[in-house]
């Protein structure tokens, strides 16, 4: 297997899905917990129009902050997301060919589709599918979207989410994320994942777990909620949804700060889900008209 650098891995995936006919989009410029939160998945998976896109999404999970001390758990990481709507009959083969395109030989490795249904209580979304294993390593999530914002998806979109760090660890034969080769250069120009991202990892861990001002966060949550509701009234589902995502991230930060009790937690999730539901419903109405 050729040892692709982290950026080559992304480029290869982009070329592969471009050749299939996907539009290559850019990351959404708001903090999100996963590639799914990008409106290109949440909003565009709804409605009847075909939609075939791929994009990288930097994602944040404040509770996974480990001060860059953990070999593969970070509060910031990258996902590569593909949405194919309607899901084509050969979507599994298309996916497997993308792995081959990355240099993974299907005859030499043990590839498996292992049941893993996906659910996002904050988005009111769910889907059925698998995690894809390569020699026991989970390299992707494969989901047939069934519902988003409480709305049934028809036609159904297939969602492929590549865990880029995992995949790179596997392809480069490296043990810790910080040691991943980022740019494939040697000598002075060489950069590792650690050199690119781990200072931020340390600083944000301290912010997420210790310093984020919870009073501000609570207030911003309320504000985001208000803004979202107001935008719905104006029939602007896209900015409304953006404030839903903001609320979701603020909630995640509050969780990381350990100030949300178990009972409150359920209530906050319900509040974000409500925003997601309103945004999606509004989007569908706009889409129809």
């Amino acid at each position: 297997m050729t040892k692709l650098s982290f950026q080559e891995l992304i480029l290869k995936l982009q070329y592969y899905w471009q050749d299939y006919g996907c539009a290559i989009l850019q990351p959404y410029d708001v903090e999100v917990g996963a590639g799914t939160f990008h409106p290109a998945t949440v909003l565009r998976s709804l409605g009847s129009k075909p939609w075939n896109v791929a994009y990288v999404q930097p994602s944040r999970r404040p509770t996974d902050s480990r001060y860059a001390q953990h070999p593969n758990r970070m509060q910031h990481y990258y996902q590569f997301q593909v949405i194919l709507k309607p899901s084509p009959d050969d979507i599994q083969d298309l996916y497997l060919k993308s792995l081959e395109h990355l240099g993974i030989d299907m005859q030499a490795h043990d590839i498996r589709f292992v049941e893993d249904d996906w659910e996002s209580p904050t988005l009111g979304a769910s889907g059925l599918g698998w995690e894809v294993w390569c020699d026991g390593m989970e390299v992707s999530q494969f989901t047939y979207m069934q519902q988003i914002g409480g709305i049934d998806c028809r036609p159904v979109a297939g969602e492929l989410t590549y865990g880029l760090e995992r995949l790179a660890l596997y392809i480069q034969g490296v043990d810790a994320v910080k040691d991943l080769d980022w740019n494939g250069q040697t000598g002075e120009k060489a950069l590792t994942y650690g050199q690119v991202d781990f200072e931020a990892e340390k600083q944000f861990s301290k912010f997420n777990l210790e310093l984020a001002d919870t009073e501000i966060l609570f207030r911003h949550f309320e504000d985001a909620e208000k803004q979202c509701s107001a935008l719905i009234k104006e029939n602007l589902p896209m900015p409304a949804y953006e404030y839903c995502i903001k609320a979701s991230h603020l909630f995640n930060l509050l969780c990381a700060r350990g100030v949300v009790s178990v009972t409150e937690r359920a209530a906050y999730i319900a509040r974000v889900r409500h925003l997601a539901k309103l945004s999606c419903e509004n989007w569908i109405e706009m889409d129809k008209s």
Partner: protein, 674 residues
């Protein structure tokens, strides 16, 4: 006789759903054939990750012509009713005949069904049984209208060597099947089951779940034996991995020594839940640094697959090691502080509050014991540890290791570990101080959750209160703990007094009743229903141990000679005194006019205090032995003395005598239940 072969070819079916579906489809098809009145010899289903196959043999080629009488309206019925009947059967009135049924004349239609080809019936209706099975979860895909567990990609259907090209949703059945996803992906054609199985086998697919399972089991044991190791038995895991492969290859990987400092339970859990690997142990029972896994391919270089899996496991175990080391940095009592942030139940405060209650209860159960209080105060601390966060099934077990690490003594560590036990009917009961702690924890949970209105109903028991109550019964009986259940419930309930406003949805007597009910359930295997009903009464005898001793004594007693006569006498006495009201009066000896009365009276005078003393001393077999002595006087009394005589005063005196005799019985057990 014909053969039907149907293959539903799918994207990967969840492993844990496969076997149930195979059984379900077998039943559905059997029923379908019966309803269509098509006779057959056998139905068998096969299941794997990518296909569910049904094979029916010995099918009749056609169903013969038949005649069925359809009863219509009365001949006197209004014309529109008769017209309606004809219309619904698609016939004209002149096809109706008249028939008298139970004195009333009805119209009858003799419906003739022509001979039908089985092939035609299948062609027209096979889609029905396919759609009948309800998966635990099903889904839509693409822009199609049908639902299945995962996208259904192809249907192969062969009847008698011919393709049945029926339609199901957007799919049209054909004669094609497919081999292994990677080793032989091209389609091949099929004409019968034998050929199907052979071609699958040639194309690297083992069709039969049980064949795969047996193979995996055999191969794994072979590899383990070669290493001088034994596999940790785990049938659920074996079932699951069998459902993840079409062409199993068992491989052995090794684990880096550096992870062996982590408790083996953590290693095993990580390997099992994340990776579906089997753990291996040496002959002494120590964790061995190897693992077995089942791949789905005869890879060009299996060593590469092994290396890949070792690497993944190494990353997983690094996680475990990291978490474990993090956990060791804080002591259990430091962890306890975090419990104040975890809600035990919305109406019942935090886990921190619960721990305080459990500690008090433990102290009440076992006063002046430092260890139990020490254990109680940290028994839930591991819940907030990183390892238990990852593997909730390790709660208790991790507490044990953390306790050992900070040099708490073995008894304390074991009590922390075992206080969740027994976790089910097959789990063992804790002993020693762990038994008291387990009891304290369970009685506290049971009472609190009952107060909060979480009493189980039907199949709904989200807090597993039945299991908790059964645990209480087992712990008390197996450890022969002389605790007063009713007091215990009172103490536990009083611990919740601060939540009274929200949590008062149950009375203490309802809690005791619930426990009594579980006790009854527990005893049903060992004692007859009647015997349990005669003895079990926690309000009256709040000790489970005494209840059990009583049951044992009574069980022996009912087999003794004296028993039959005594129970007859008891029932006669009960019947006679049932409506007697003057039970509290004193017996007047001077009214006795025969020895039978006197003898019974003397017996009662003599034995009543003795029997009472035996009961007080909880010597039930002693009390029953004495009761047996009543056989002669009471039997003779009934044989020779008339109770309801005309002289009301004498009659009353005799009724008094019998009431007294009955009271003695009643003190021992509810003999009316026997």
């Amino acid at each position: 006789m014909s053969e039907l072969l149907l293959e539903l070819f799918s994207e990967e079916i969840p492993a844990t759903m496969q076997q149930k579906a195979a059984v379900g489809y077998e039943e559905i098809f059997a029923k379908y054939f019966q309803e269509q009145t098509i006779s057959f010899a056998s139905i068998k289903s096969y299941v794997g990750p990518r296909r569910l196959t049904i094979h029916v043999t010995g099918i009749a080629a056609y169903i013969s012509a038949s005649k069925k009488e359809v009863k219509g309206p009365k001949t006197s019925a209004p014309e529109n009713a008769i017209h309606g009947f004809c219309h619904s059967n698609g016939i004209s009135k002149d096809l109706l005949s008249r028939q008298e049924i139970k004195g009333v004349e009805y119209f009858v239609y003799e419906q003739m069904t022509a001979q039908q080809q089985t092939k035609d019936i299948l062609q027209n209706t096979l889609m029905d049984p396919i759609s009948t099975y309800v998966w635990p979860k099903s889904m839509f895909w693409g822009d199609y209208q049908i639902k299945w567990v995962r996208p259904l990609r192809n249907i192969m259907c062969i009847f008698d060597g011919q393709t049945l090209d029926f339609k199901y949703g957007h799919l049209v059945a054909n004669n094609k099947s497919f081999g292994h996803r990677f080793m032989s992906p091209e389609p091949f054609e099929v004409t019968n089951f034998a050929e199907y199985k052979q071609k699958l086998s040639d194309n690297f697919v083992v069709l039969d779940h049980f064949e795969r399972k047996a193979y995996i089991s055999k191969e794994s044991n072979k590899i383990a034996a070669k290493m001088g190791l034994v596999i940790k038995e785990d049938n659920d895991l074996l079932e699951e991995v069998t459902g993840l492969v079409e062409y199993p290859k068992v491989l052995l990987g090794s684990i880096d020594q550096k992870f062996l400092s982590v408790p083996s339970e953590v290693l095993s859990s990580s390997m099992r839940s994340h990776q579906k690997y089997f753990s291996l142990f040496d002959q002494k029972g120590d964790f061995a640094p190897y693992f077995l896994f089942v791949s789905n391919i005869a890879a060009t270089n299996p060593e590469l697959v092994v290396q890949g899996n070792e690497k993944v496991l190494s990353a997983r175990l690094s996680d475990a090691l990291y978490f474990y080391n993090q956990d060791l940095k804080t002591k259990l009592n430091q962890k306890s502080q975090k419990l104040d942030k975890i809600i035990f139940h919305a109406k019942l405060g935090t886990v921190g509050d619960k721990v305080q209650r459990v500690a008090k209860m433990a102290e009440y159960l076992l006063p002046n014991n430092e260890d139990i209080v020490k254990a109680a105060l940290v028994c839930k601390s591991d819940i907030v540890s990183e390892v238990v966060g990852e593997f909730p099934n390790l709660q208790g077990i991790m507490g044990y290791y953390y306790a050992k690490y900070e040099s708490l003594n073995e008894d304390v560590a074991v009590a922390i570990r075992d206080h969740y036990k027994p976790q089910g009917p097959s789990d063992s009961c804790p002993a020693g101080i762990a038994a008291f702690l387990a009891l304290a924890d369970k009685i506290d949970s049971l009472c609190g959750l009952m107060l909060a209105g979480e009493k189980p109903s039907g199949s709904k028991d989200p807090f597993a209160l039945r299991r908790q109550a059964l645990g209480i019964v087992r712990i008390v009986l197996e450890n022969e703990l002389l605790v007063n259940i009713s007091e215990l419930v009172d103490v536990a309930v009083s611990g919740y007094s601060v939540y009274k406003k929200d949590a008062n949805l149950c009375s203490t007597s309802q809690i005791i009743e619930f426990l009594e009910d579980r006790m009854r359930h527990f005893l049903k295997d060992e004692y007859s229903h009647e015997l349990v009903n005669a003895v079990l009464d926690l309000e009256k005898e709040p000790s489970l141990v005494n209840t059990k001793i009583k049951l044992d004594s009574l069980q022996i007693f009912v087999k003794e000679d004296a028993y039959t006569d005594l129970i007859i006498a008891y029932k006669r006495a009960s019947n006679i005194v049932a409506s007697f009201v003057g039970k509290d009066e004193k017996i007047n000896e001077s009214l006795f006019d025969n020895d039978y009365e006197k003898n019974l009276y003397n017996f009662l005078q003599d034995y009543e205090p003795k029997i009472k003393a035996e009961i007080m001393a909880k010597n039930y077999s002693g009390s029953l032995k004495m009761l047996a002595a009543m056989r002669a006087p009471i039997s003779s009394f009934f044989d020779n003395v008339m109770v309801k005589v005309d002289n009301q005063i004498v009659a009353n005196n005799r009724l008094l005598l019998l009431s007294k005799a009955k009271q003695i019985f009643d003190q021992i057990a509810k003999f009316d239940q026997l």
